[in-house]
C-alpha cells in the first residue's frame, strides 16, 4: 500500500484533466453522428482558456455568486479526490464521503442561480431542483445498497442478479445526473435561454463550466468504482478500471443523448420516479432473497 499516494496522484491528475478532453470527444462524436465536422478535440480547453482571460463580470446585485462558484469548484475537487482515493486505497468511508459531497455540490449547483435576479435562471434552477431531488435520492439509496452488498470493495465469489441491477440503476442515475437529453431541461430548453447559466460570463462561467465537467466525470466515476469493486477490487487495477469505465461511459452517454429528444419538465420527474422506484425495489427484493 506504500504506492497509494502515487496512485491517488496519478488518478487525480487524470480526473482533473480528462473531462475537458472527453467533452471535446463528445462534441466531435456528436458532430460525426450529425454529419458535421465539429470542433477539434481540445476545443473545450480553448474555450475555457478564453473565458479565463476575459474580465470578471458578476451578476447584478450579487457577490454571493462568486463565493458560491469557488465553493462549488473546491468541493468538487475534494469530492473527486476523495472518490479516487477511495478506489485506490479501498476506503469505503472515503467513497461514502465523496457521494455525500456530490450531493452537497449538486445543492450548490442549484442554489447558485437563485443568487441572480434573472427569471430564466430561477426557472432553470427550479427545474434542476425537481430533477435533483429525485435523482440524488436515488443515487444515495443506490450507493447505500452498493455498500451494503459489497462493503469490502472486493470481487464477490459468485455474481448475483443484485449486482447487475445495482450497476444498471447506477448507470441510469449517473446518466440523468450528467444533464444530457432527455433530462437537460434545466439549461437547454429554449424558452429559458440558457437556463440557470444565463447570468454567468467570463472567468465565472469558466469556473462553472469546468466544475460541471468535473461533476459529470464524477457521476460516471462512481459507476466505475462500484464496477471495479465488484470485478478487480481496489488498488491500481481498480483505479485503472474506474478511469476506463468513466471514459467509456462518457462516450456511450454521448451516443445515447444524440439519438433522443428532450423530455418535458412535467413528464421527466414522473418517468424518473417510475424508473428509480422499479429498479430500487427490484434491488432490495433480489438482495433480500439473495438471488
Amino acid at each position: 500500500m506504500t504506492y497509494g499516494p502515487v496512485l491517488v496522484s496519478i488518478g487525480l491528475a487524470s480526473v482533473l484533466t480528462l473531462p475537458t478532453l472527453l467533452d471535446g470527444v463528445e462534441r466531435k462524436l456528436k458532430a460525426a453522428i450529425q454529419s458535421r465536422i465539429g470542433p477539434p478535440i481540445h476545443q473545450t480547453l480553448l474555450d475555457l482558456t478564453k473565458l479565463f482571460r476575459k474580465e470578471l463580470v458578476l451578476p447584478r446585485e450579487s457577490m454571493h455568486t462568486l463565493y458560491m462558484a469557488f465553493t462549488y469548484l473546491s468541493l468538487s475537487i475534494v469530492a473527486i479526490s476523495s472518490s479516487i482515493a477511495s478506489i485506490a486505497l479501498g476506503s469505503i468511508e472515503l467513497f461514502t464521503a465523496s457521494v455525500i459531497l456530490l450531493s452537497i455540490i449538486q445543492a450548490i449547483h442549484i442554489a447558485m442561480p437563485f443568487t441572480t435576479y434573472n427569471p430564466f435562471s430561477i426557472v432553470g434552477a427550479s427545474r434542476e431542483l425537481v430533477l435533483a431531488v429525485i435523482n440524488e435520492s436515488a443515487l444515495l439509496i443506490t450507493v447505500g445498497l452498493a455498500i451494503l452488498v459489497n462493503p469490502l470493495m472486493s470481487p464477490p465469489s459468485s455474481w448475483r442478479s443484485t449486482y447487475f441491477l445495482l450497476l444498471l440503476e447506477l448507470l441510469i442515475v449517473s446518466y440523468i445526473a450528467s444533464g444530457r437529453t432527455p433530462y437537460d431541461i434545466a439549461e437547454a430548453e429554449p424558452e429559458i435561454a440558457s437556463g440557470w447559466l444565463i447570468e454567468f460570463s467570463g472567468p465565472l462561467l469558466g469556473v462553472i463550466i469546468y466544475t460541471n465537467l468535473l461533476r459529470k466525470a464524477m457521476v460516471k466515476l462512481i459507476v466505475g468504482i462500484v464496477l471495479a469493486g465488484l470485478t478487480t477490487g481496489y488498488g491500481s487495477m481498480g483505479l485503472l478500471l474506474s478511469l476506463i469505465a468513466m471514459t467509456l461511459l462518457w462516450v456511450a452517454y454521448t451516443v445515447a443523448s444524440t439519438i433522443v429528444g428532450r423530455s418535458r419538465v412535467d413528464v421527466a420527474p414522473k418517468t424518473m420516479i417510475f424508473i428509480h422506484t422499479t429498479f430500487i425495489t427490484l434491488l432490495i427484493v433480489t438482495h433480500v432473497l439473495g438471488v
Partner: protein, 541 residues
C-alpha cells in the same frame, strides 16, 4: 348556394351601392352602415373566410379615404371585396371585429397608417412604435416617403398583473430568429395568458412601391419581403399586376413559376422541420434535415442562379428557362431528397420524446381556426381544407394532381405531419410539371398597365396564403398592400399557448412557422410628386 344566389343576397343588403362581378371575384361598394350586415352575411351566413382589409388614401381622387375588406369563399374559389368610403376630414368607420375577429389587426393597421378610426371596438397602436407622434400617418399620400418625424423613446411595459410571474420571450431570444416579443404570464410552469408585441422592423416596402419604384422594380423588392418565401411574394405581386392589366402570361412561364414555388416550399418546410427538431433537443434530426435541405438549395441555384433571392419573376413571365439538362438534374436531386427525407421523417416521428412533446400541445381547435381565418399548415392541421393552389388555382397548378393534407387534432404534431406530407406532394408536383411543361416563350415583352384598376392575388406560400392587393397607378402602384400568412396566424397563438406548459411555448410559437420579416413589412415613406387624378374602377382581379 349558386353564384347568382350569392350576388342576389349581397345586393339585398341595404346600403350596397355597386356590385361588379368577374371570373374569380365580386367587388362591392357599400355605405358604412352596410358594413356590419355585409360582414355578417359573408362571414357568418355564407361561411366565408377573412383574408384582410386595406386602408387607402384616395383623397386625391375622390376626396375620401377608403377601406377594402377582402373575404374568400374558398369552396367556390371566389374572393369578395367590400369597399367602403370614409370622410376625409374625420375618417371613421364601424368596426367589424366583433363579427370577424380576424379583422382586428388590419383595422388597427389602417388606423395607424391612415388615421381611419373604427368605432365600436377598443383601439390600440399596433404597427407604429409608441414613441411615434400622434396624428402622423405614414401611408397617407401627403406624407413624404423621406420624412422622419421626431420620435421619442418610450419604454413599453406590457405587464399588467404584478401578482403573476412573467417570462419575456424576445425581442431577441435564442428561440426566436427575428425580433418579436411575447410576454408569457405563468403560474408554476403553466402559461395562463400571453401578450404579443410585433412590428419592430419597419422597412417601408409598401410606401417605396407606391412612391419610388416602377411596376417591374417592385417585383424585386417584393421578393425581399421574406428571406425564405420571397419567391411567393414576387409571384403574387407579378400575378396581381398581370391580373389588373389583363396580361396573358405564357404557359411555360406559369410552369416555371409553379416548379420554383414548390422547390421553395420543400426547402422552407425542411428548414422548419430542422428548427423544430432543434427545439425538441433532437439536434441530430436538425442537422440531417438541413443536410437534406442543402440539396434543394443547390437545385434552386441550378434553376435560378441563386440559392435565395432568385430575381426570376417579371410582370408577364420569368427571366430564365429550364432546359433538358436541368430537367434531368432536377429529377436526380428530387430522387435523392425523396429517399433521404422519407427515411429521416419516419425516424423523427418515431422518437418517443418528439411524439410525446408534439402530441396534444399547442392545440388550435377548428372553431378558433375558422374564427381567426388562419391559413396554411396551421389551418390544415386544425381540420380546415384551405389551400389557394386548389381553391383559387394560379400558375400551372391546375395541371398537377396533388392532395391537400388535412389533420383534425390541431396540435403541434398535426402541424408537423401536414408539412411532412406536403414535402412529398411538392416533390410529386415538380415531377408532374416537368413532364408536362409546354414549349414556347417565357415572358410577354410589351404590356400596358391601366390606371385605377383594383386587383387581388393569392399564392399559397409554405406558411399559408400570401395576399397582394393593388390599385394601379401611373407607372407604379397607387396602393399596394401585402398580407403575409404569419400576419393572419399570430393572433391564433394566444389560443394555442394558453394553459400550456411553459416548456412548450417556443415549440408552439415555432409551429406556425412565423416569419416576422414578412409581417413587419409595412411603412413610412413617399414621393412629393404632383397629384394626379385617377378614375378608380373595379378590375378583373
Amino acid at each position: 348556394m349558386s353564384f347568382s344566389d350569392i350576388v342576389e343576397r349581397i345586393k339585398g343588403v341595404r346600403g350596397v351601392t355597386e356590385v361588379v362581378t368577374s371570373r374569380s371575384a365580386l367587388f362591392i361598394t357599400a355605405t358604412a352602415d352596410a358594413l356590419k350586415p355585409l360582414a355578417m352575411e359573408i362571414y357568418q351566413i355564407m361561411g366565408g373566410f377573412f383574408r384582410t382589409c386595406i386602408g387607402s388614401d384616395e383623397r386625391s381622387i375622390n376626396n375620401c379615404f377608403a377601406i377594402y375588406y377582402i373575404f374568400g369563399l374558398d369552396d367556390r374559389g371566389l374572393n369578395i371585396v367590400v369597399k367602403v368610403y370614409a370622410d376625409s376630414k374625420k375618417p371613421e368607420l364601424p368596426s367589424i371585429s366583433d363579427i370577424v375577429p380576424a379583422s382586428d389587426w388590419c383595422e388597427m393597421e389602417a388606423r395607424d397608417l391612415f388615421g381611419i378610426e373604427f368605432t365600436g371596438r377598443a383601439s390600440y397602436r399596433l404597427i407604429l412604435p409608441h414613441g411615434w407622434p400622434n396624428g402622423v400617418h405614414p401611408l397617407r399620400k401627403d406624407y413624404s416617403y423621406d420624412s422622419r418625424p421626431v420620435t421619442r423613446a418610450v419604454s413599453e411595459r406590457l405587464t399588467l398583473v404584478d401578482t403573476i410571474s412573467t417570462v419575456p420571450i424576445g425581442p431577441y431570444h435564442p428561440a426566436l430568429h427575428e425580433p418579436e416579443y411575447f410576454e408569457l404570464y405563468i403560474e408554476g410552469e403553466r402559461v395562463i395568458d400571453v401578450k404579443y408585441r410585433g412590428f419592430h422592423v419597419h422597412r417601408g416596402i409598401e410606401k417605396l412601391g407606391e412612391s419610388k419604384l416602377t411596376y417591374q422594380q417592385v417585383n424585386f423588392i417584393a421578393e425581399r419581403i421574406c428571406g425564405i418565401c420571397g419567391f411567393e411574394h414576387s409571384t403574387c405581386y407579378a400575378q396581381v399586376v398581370e391580373s389588373a392589366a389583363g396580361i396573358e402570361v405564357p404557359e411555360r412561364a406559369k410552369f416555371i413559376r409553379s416548379i420554383v414555388l414548390e422547390i421553395e416550399r420543400i426547402h422552407s418546410h425542411l428548414l422548419w422541420v430542422g428548427v423544430v427538431a432543434h427545439l425538441l433537443g433532437y439536434d441530430a434530426g436538425f442537422m440531417h434535415t438541413w443536410r437534406i435541405r442543402e440539396h434543394v438549395m443547390t437545385l434552386a441555384e441550378l434553376l435560378t442562379g441563386s440559392r435565395k433571392m432568385y430575381g426570376l419573376n417579371l410582370i408577364g413571365g420569368v427571366r430564365r428557362d429550364i432546359d433538358l439538362s436541368k430537367k434531368e438534374k432536377i429529377l436526380e436531386v428530387l430522387d435523392t431528397i425523396s429517399k433521404e427525407y422519407i427515411e429521416l421523417a419516419s425516424l423523427m416521428v418515431s422518437i418517443p420524446q418528439v411524439r410525446m412533446r408534439l402530441k396534444g400541445s399547442g392545440v388550435l381547435y377548428k372553431e378558433d381556426a375558422r374564427k381567426l381565418s388562419v391559413v396554411g399548415p396551421v389551418a390544415r392541421a386544425s381540420g380546415l381544407r384551405r389551400d389557394v393552389r386548389k381553391d383559387l388555382p394560379y400558375a400551372a397548378y391546375r395541371y398537377a394532381s396533388f392532395n391537400v393534407p388535412v389533420y383534425d387534432d390541431g396540435d403541434n404534431f398535426s402541424r408537423l405531419m401536414v408539412r411532412l406530407d406536403e414535402i412529398k406532394e411538392s416533390i410529386s408536383i415538380v415531377k408532374q410539371l416537368l413532364d408536362q411543361m409546354p414549349p414556347g416563350p417565357i415572358k410577354v415583352e410589351e404590356f400596358i398597365v391601366p390606371e385605377g384598376v383594383v386587383a387581388i392575388s393569392a399564392v399559397e406560400a409554405p406558411r399559408g396564403e400570401d395576399v397582394h392587393f393593388i390599385i394601379t397607378g401611373h407607372g407604379r402602384p397607387f396602393r399596394w398592400r401585402v398580407r403575409a400568412p404569419t400576419y393572419q396566424n399570430i393572433p391564433a397563438l394566444k389560443h394555442m399557448l394558453k394553459d400550456q406548459p411553459l416548456a412548450d411555448a417556443p415549440l408552439t410559437i415555432a409551429s406556425i412557422d412565423p416569419c416576422f420579416s414578412c409581417t413587419d413589412r409595412v411603412l413610412v415613406i413617399d414621393s412629393s410628386g404632383s397629384k394626379r387624378t385617377l378614375k378608380l374602377g373595379w378590375g378583373l382581379g
